[in-house]
């Protein structure tokens, strides 16, 4: 009991010192913190969104639709290749049902399977279904599917792409320190500290922003009969004299991927528009298309809706142009942003949102602080009355414990949440349990007639096993809490876990050191307990 090796004392004091060092930045204002030399630890506790205010969004990426679309594209590609083969290759029963691309290759004149046709189709099919498992039967039946592994790869790729696009978009809005991470297979968590109303950001993130430039089928517009290669699209731009629906070719003249830049600008000095620039390929395709189609309209299609369908007056060869639609300055700026950041590969849906205003967070901090202070004062006073001098030791340990928790939270870069504050308060209450156990045991040993030193020794020794068992079981519950919890609950669990560890250190080792120093100095005949 009395013997503490120099090393042990050094380690104990060292840990306390480190705890103070790492927790100190939390008490110093940021301005003076910046002036300190670089070796001083400056990391302060990360406040959870529920305390500092901000928005937490959980998105689900619709990877299923993406896969479906992908299969449809493959099938379209196959059909296109077969039709344009020389001589053309016939097929029947094209389908993408059940996640399988299937059709039957036939001789179009006889409507029967023909080994020659099948062989001719083979390289084309292999090309179009690259990355899929392809089978071609003797009767011309073709099936192509993604292996489970390839599907998963595809999904991972889509989510990664979506995260890239989201990051660009969020960065463009000027949001500070966003966190964008994948969760599980097809989910994305976005945390936006300080964002009070995420509506605008949600609008921007949620839009697919798939833009295409396509030709209007003027002949079909006159006859009113869309060709099989056309589709009928709604028109958003109600300001112009164009009808509410337009018949547009399915074939994409220039895709949005070929855009290099887009900016909000003004036409005629006041009308907000989006000015865009194509890359080399885009500029060439666009130039060719405009040369061939002077006098016709081309449609600018965004997410399946025509936002504008101007008439081509001259060939546009410079590779840049403007989109004028029914824009306000804001919506034109948003569209420009979306075009710059690129299209999302799949649809996103918000499946969970938690937004907390900064003032509510401040209220929570204030309430948590108050409850914390009251709890500390109440426990400190109670321990003082219950155990006198040893209560003082326990109280010092308690305060050190609070300091160490703060230090550990800062060091680990953990996030303090409102339930986390509750966890801290609870930890303080339970931390003194170790001292209560020890001191009650010491009292008992004294009753059995032991001397102060041996009673102390026995008290610490006997109680320690109990304390370890009690803390271990408590840790088990907390670990599961951490595993299961989302955001704030995780914060609560981590605070509890840290608290269990630090409280074991302070209430066993630190009080023991203090008691041993005191015993050696005073050599009491009787313990004041």
């Amino acid at each position: 009991m009395l013997q503490f090796s120099k090393l042990k004392i050094g380690v104990i004091l060292g840990i306390i010192l480190l705890g103070c060092l790492f927790s100190a930045p939390n008490l110093i204002p940021q301005a003076s913190l910046d002036k300190l030399p670089s070796w001083v630890p400056k990391t302060v506790i990360n406040l959870g969104l529920d305390l500092q205010g901000g928005s937490h969004l959980l998105y689900e990426v619709d990877t299923d639709s993406f896969v479906k679309e992908r299969l449809a594209t493959v099938l379209d590609d196959i059909r296109d290749k077969l039709r344009h083969a020389t001589p053309p290759i016939g097929y029947q029963n094209p389908s993408t049902a059940g996640g399988v691309v299937s059709l039957r290759v036939i001789d179009s004149s006889t409507q029967n399977a023909d080994p020659k046709m099948t062989e001719a189709a083979r390289p084309l099919l292999q090309q179009a279904t690259n990355g899929m498992d392809l089978t071609i039967a003797d009767d011309g039946q073709v099936t192509a599917r993604y292996s489970d592994q390839a599907l998963q790869q595809l999904r991972i790729q889509v989510v990664a792409q979506a995260i890239d696009v989201i990051r660009k978009r969020v960065d463009e809005t000027g949001t500070k320190e966003p966190t964008i991470i994948r969760e599980g297979e097809d989910r994305i968590v976005i945390q936006l500290p300080g964002v009070k109303d995420p509506q605008h950001i949600k609008d921007i993130i949620g839009r697919t922003a798939k833009m295409t430039f396509r030709m209007v089928d003027e002949a079909a517009m006159v006859s009113g009969q869309p060709a099989p290669t056309d589709e009928v699209l709604d028109v958003v731009d109600t300001r112009s004299n164009t009808p509410q629906k337009l018949i547009v070719q399915k074939r994409v003249t220039v895709a949005g991927e070929n855009l290099t830049d887009a900016q909000q600008s003004f036409e005629n000095g006041s009308q907000p528009v989006v000015a865009f620039k194509f890359d080399g390929i885009g500029a060439k395709k666009f130039g060719d298309a405009t040369v061939q189609n002077v006098g016709k309209r081309f449609a600018i299609v965004l997410d399946g809706k025509v936002i504008s369908a101007p008439v081509i007056k001259d060939a546009i060869l410079g590779g840049s142009g403007i989109i004028s639609g029914n824009f306000t300055v804001q919506s034109a700026a948003d569209l420009a942003l979306l075009l710059r950041a690129g299209a999302l590969p799949a649809n996103l849906t918000v499946i969970e949102e938690r937004t907390v205003g900064a003032d509510l967070g401040a209220d929570s901090i204030a309430a948590g602080k108050l409850a914390c202070e009251i709890a500390i004062v109440a426990i400190v006073v109670a321990m003082l009355f219950l155990y006198g001098l040893f209560g003082v030791f326990a109280d010092i340990a308690l305060v050190l414990n609070a300091v160490l928790i703060l230090g550990a939270l800062s060091l680990l870069g953990a996030t303090l949440t409102f339930p986390g504050i509750a966890g801290m308060i609870l930890t303080l209450g339970m931390a003194v349990d170790a001292n209560v156990l020890i001191l009650e045991r010491v009292r008992e040993e004294m009753r059995n007639g032991r001397s102060p030193v041996t009673a102390m020794e026995a008290g610490y020794r006997e109680a320690q096993a109990t304390i370890i068992d009690a803390n271990a079981t408590h840790c088990i519950a907390t670990v599961f809490l951490f595993e299961f919890g989302s955001g704030p609950i995780k914060g609560f669990a981590i605070t509890l876990l840290i608290g269990v560890v630090t409280s074991f250190f302070t209430s066993v080792y630190v009080t023991r050191l203090m008691t041993s120093v005191w015993l050696r100095r005073t050599r009491p005949k009787l313990l004041p307990l």
Partner: protein
């Protein structure tokens, strides 16, 4: 020098086990009652589990909220049964909207429409939406975590003591968690993620308390090898009584600080914790411990180690050290 006060006299001889039968019956009634309530009335699931929208709003210029007017505005949106409730202050209102039939998109739209209906003058302190899928996942996650935590705790107690102790610790945990859930079913208090956190914390606290007593019983079993178990348990409970009172008292104190000063948002959590500390302490004495009487603990008969004789003369090394392998209980 200051002589510390003693909350509990040094040599209490309370016959705790005297009331254990009627109190076990009370516990059984509480557990069965809670289960019946849980299955018939059910829990009032909050947004985390039921899904839907929760908004905390403040009136413009902090005037007291006119709930009637708000209701008519929001009912006109036809977004299901909207519940309104003042929250801590008369100008602070909680708006709850159930899951929309149209799914996640509809839920998002509902938020936008509420904001439109109320206008920019209001302060939106908090907005939470949870979709049906997430709610369902959170529910299962919570259940899974609770069950795994309890099994984990049982496993540990089993490993450190004997299987009887492990089973009893589990029963006590089950008792505490089920009655806490029952309390929520009875009062209709909202059952949320934080409530689950509270329940798991209660589990941790309760088993902490149980382990302290079990440690003492094991220790005493080695010391008084021929003492009848009933008497031995009473001795153990009495010698830890002071600690039980002080620790649960101090923890209760800190939780009460949370309950009274922690604000409205943490109220449900603090309430569950307060209940949990009371029930956790009770279950240690009247569920986890008396059940040992019926578990046929295997005890080694032998010479009794006298409790007091010459303890002062005796060197500490001769005391049975609790760190060593339990000798009073034989593994089978």
């Amino acid at each position: 020098m200051y002589k510390p006060i003693r909350l509990v006299p040094a040599n209490t001889r309370i016959d705790f086990m005297r009331w254990h039968k009627p109190l076990l019956l009370v516990s059984i009634v509480l557990v069965v009652g809670s289960l019946v309530l849980l299955f018939t009335k059910g829990l009032n699931y909050g947004i985390d589990f039921a899904g839907g929208v929760l908004m905390e709003v403040q009136t413009p210029q902090n005037a007291p909220a006119d709930l009637g007017e708000m209701r008519s505005k929001l009912d006109a949106l036809h977004i299901g049964e909207v519940t309104l409730q003042t929250f801590g202050a008369p100008n602070d209102v909680l708006i709850r909207v159930p899951q929309q039939a149209s799914g996640d998109k509809g839920t998002q739209e509902a938020v936008a429409r509420i904001k439109d209906a109320l206008g920019d003058q209001w302060q939106y302190r908090r907005t939470e939406t949870v979709g049906p899928k997430v709610g369902e996942e959170l529910k299962w996650g919570a259940l899974k975590a609770s069950i795994l935590a309890m099994l984990g705790i049982m496993g540990y107690v089993w490993f450190r003591y004997e299987w009887q102790f492990g089973i009893n610790a589990l029963l006590a945990l089950f008792h505490d968690t089920v009655t806490t859930a029952g309390l929520f079913a009875l009062t209709g208090l909202e059952f949320n993620l934080t409530t689950v956190a509270a329940i798991l914390t209660i589990a941790g606290y309760s088993v902490n308390d149980t382990v302290v007593i079990y440690d003492r019983i094991r220790y005493d079993m080695r010391r008084y090898k021929s003492m009848p178990l009933r008497e031995l348990i009473n001795t153990s409970l009495n010698s830890t009584l002071s600690r039980t009172t002080i620790t649960s008292g101090l923890t209760l104190l800190s939780v009460l600080a949370l309950l009274l000063f922690g604000g409205e948002a943490i109220h449900g959590f603090a309430l569950a914790m307060t209940w949990g500390i009371v029930i956790g302490t009770y279950s240690t004495i009247y569920v986890a411990t008396p059940l040992l009487l019926y578990m046929h603990l295997h005890r080694v008969r032998g010479k009794e180690t006298p409790p007091k004789d010459g303890a002062a003369k005796e060197k500490p090394a001769k005391e049975p050290a609790p760190k060593s392998q339990p000798s009073a209980v034989v593994r089978r």
